[in-house]
Point group: C2
Chain length 309, copies 2
């Protein structure tokens, strides 16, 4: 397995301070933490800040649970690009005797995986994935296209790490645009500017860059080169514990990939394009804590007014 | 596998009306639905209603993601009682060649489970499970004990069903009490009365009953009989699509089970008892929609004032 990048000394020290302050609660697994009321209040305040900013988009709000039909993952190409990050859900489907054998192994922390079989569900790998089949099922997309606000969606990535900004399950504050290519690109560009402004207003110093996804393996390098050449992905980065900056928002232009995969069509004929954007809410929260300090009460008044108006 | 009870004609018809009205969004898998803004506004309003009611409890608010270290599930006894409901998380840990073989099978919707191996994580089966190891890690529980508010926590149950009130992933509005036995039982009894009052105020007609968990297999019948004899579990039930009533809140007294499992101790010496309570937020939402109709705007003004004060 390609390991997640090891945590830097700065990241490890930041994690320790978050745990000591009780903002995060250790579980024994890297990248899986409980969160205090203070941590959650920041995360939810930034979520609401994005919602206020998005009010002009006339989007439709929908919410999906963090589980997805396995068929949709299989169709999407995710397992080609990111097999190392996907999580599938297994369960028990045996007899009473097998249940007893499974429990016997599990209670001694030995290997009980042989008693588990694959279910029809996987974990949602990116917050936009449940949106496309739902939109396809409604019939053709009308002129003007659609903007879907998928809210703060939980997604799973199997990349255990000691960097507190690299969680195995986290919230993406997600929006999706579906329509004619020029509509979709214009929306993506508007939101890229808007994201920079939003982050600046809460005292962060964001940069926007052309980026690539963490594609798997050698063949992934070609996918990444192609993605970069076509400028299909932008990220907004800020300084967290670093020393390198961390992406806190991602803007992805899929061209016709998801529309073709899930059979979304335009009422005017032809295949729409799609784009999505997501803020990593835990990363923004960590960025705010790192920049302004672990005591919210001591934060700059302007920053607090933007978050808690 | 013991199948989840088949949906009744009333439940199937209710599901169809929820899908037609757009309150739920089908995904192709039973028990996995997207939700509209209206559905979510009811769910969140009832969540906040419980929070206001709990304000006097001086509880500590914590939030956990829906994934749990596998070790904790293995230690808890869950796999003895409910092996059929647990979900474990598998992922890919192979070579580039194996990734290509997996993708080849998956893209044709054939069996790729052989390329997946068990991770160190499982899905949270009940919202109180992450709380106990976190409390144990803090050291002895002080006199007076602890009340933990775990908020609206997502939990997984592998029981695909056509009953819209039986979801594979749903929110439990969860609280946990840890302390001396009499403190814990008194808290449980207070909340049982409070839950009935809360549900009555929003126009539902709740009943409280001694109940049993859906233990697995023949040996489970003995566990259930014991649980019933000791009155360790109460449920509050309401009428949803029925015709039988549906549990919307559950009150569980664990005696010293979780404290012993996760080594929680009292500062005064000895082992604390624990109890938890959870409202099934989607079930309450469905109960409100079933009772008052699918148009929130037409609901009784008193009910709306309680939910949106």
């Amino acid at each position: 397995m390609p390991e997640a990048p090891a945590a830097t000394p700065e990241q490890s020290a930041f994690l320790v301070s978050l745990l000591e302050q009780g903002l995060l609660i250790g579980t024994g697994e890297p990248g899986v933490y409980g969160r205090s009321a203070a941590f959650e209040s920041i995360r939810q305040a930034f979520d609401a800040f994005v919602t206020r900013e998005a009010a002009g988009d006339r989007s439709e709000q929908v919410r999906f649970p963090p589980v997805l039909p396995r068929r949709h993952l299989e169709s999407s190409g995710y397992l080609k690009s990111f097999p190392h990050l996907a999580g599938s859900i297994f369960s028990f489907d045996g007899t009473e005797q097998q249940a007893a054998q499974q429990e016997d192994l599990a209670s001694r922390h030995e290997d009980w995986s042989g008693y588990q079989s694959m279910t029809d569900l996987v974990l949602v790998p990116a917050a936009c994935y449940p949106v496309y089949p739902a939109i396809a099922a409604r019939g053709p997309v009308q002129p003007g296209g659609l903007t879907i606000d998928a809210g703060a969606s939980l997604v799973f990535r199997h990349e255990p790490s000691g960097d507190p900004a690299r969680l195995q399950m986290f919230h993406q504050r997600e929006m999706v645009r579906i329509g004619e290519p020029e509509q979709v690109v214009a929306w993506r560009d508007t939101w890229r500017t808007r994201a920079l402004e939003l982050l600046e207003r809460v005292g962060l110093e964001p940069d926007s860059e052309v980026a690539t996804d963490p594609f798997f393996g050698r063949s992934g390098r070609m996918l990444a080169a192609n993605q970069r050449a076509q400028e299909l992905k932008f990220e907004v980065q800020i300084q967290i514990a670093g020393p390198a900056p961390t992406a806190v928002a991602s803007f992805n232009y899929h061209q016709d990939h998801f529309a073709r995969t899930f059979d979304i069509v335009l009422a005017s004929g032809g295949v729409p394009h799609t784009a999505c954007l997501g803020f990593g809410l835990e990363r923004v929260t960590l960025g705010l804590l790192h920049r302004h300090g672990l005591e919210i009460g001591a934060w700059d008044a302007t920053v607090r007014r933007h978050l808690w108006p």
